[in-house]
Symmetry: C2
Subunit: 138 residues, 2 copies
Amino acid sequence: MDNPFVKYPGYLLRRASKSRMAQLAQHLEPLGVGVSEASILVLVGRNPGISQAECGRLLSIKRPNLNPIIRRFIERNLIISTKGQGRIQCLNLSESGEALAERITQEFEAQEARIYEAVPPHLRDELVPMLNALWWSQ
Amino acid sequence: MDNPFVKYPGYLLRRASKSRMAQLAQHLEPLGVGVSEASILVLVGRNPGISQAECGRLLSIKRPNLNPIIRRFIERNLIISTKGQGRIQCLNLSESGEALAERITQEFEAQEARIYEAVPPHLRDELVPMLNALWWSQ
DNA sequence: TATTGTTATACTCTATAACTATA
DNA sequence: TATAGTTATAGAGTATAACAATA
């Protein structure tokens, strides 16, 4: 059978992205979080007091979709929400949230190392420039 | 605000993939097909008599998810299904299916050209090897 | 008014289980 | 039995509209 797509960079790009996301999800599974959830926790950890709306903008998640995820984190006592300016809720990690974000960050770094090492040594310096060039920013 | 992910190749890979898929979907929209649907039509055109199950394996689409898509193509008279060995249905493009697959292929080629040209000239020869290296094939 | 948080809703993609039809 | 097609279903992820709350 002839797969006419293996010569298309767009197809290879999608295949690479999907497989690496699955790989990362597999390593995050024991921590009880998906990739999006893990990213949110790390983002809140790096930006104490950030709002839901700002999280959504940075991660390209629409506010109505982010809201129930944040709510679950609050219920699980991983994120603490305090009143801010206007209707804003300032988000911060709880102590257990900090611990989990730490472990997630380790998995993120391990994943990046796996990707980096999969690239032939003479192309490694070009990895980030290449991926930035492939981004279509509208 | 600090986005801690812009240094992660995995994040850049996903961002690139998602944006390019959106770009391609935008160009396919006037043809009335999504990216997956377009791929199926081209695949059937290149492999006359292929089965649903084989299509699914080549495109990483599970049979239960592929089935209704094929059925819609048959209803729209883009694909013709004939009885084969066992329960197999042999799939072929109709005349209008051929015409549509031709236009889709042109859009695919145009998309690949856009991606190729977005890469700095000195990295273009490394594009396909890089993307193949980034694929985690389990 | 503009922005945030919130609810409802819907559409796509994906995944699993289980059924039938045929070799 | 094994494979193909089929149906039902459930879970992500994503999208829009609209409402409530606050500056």
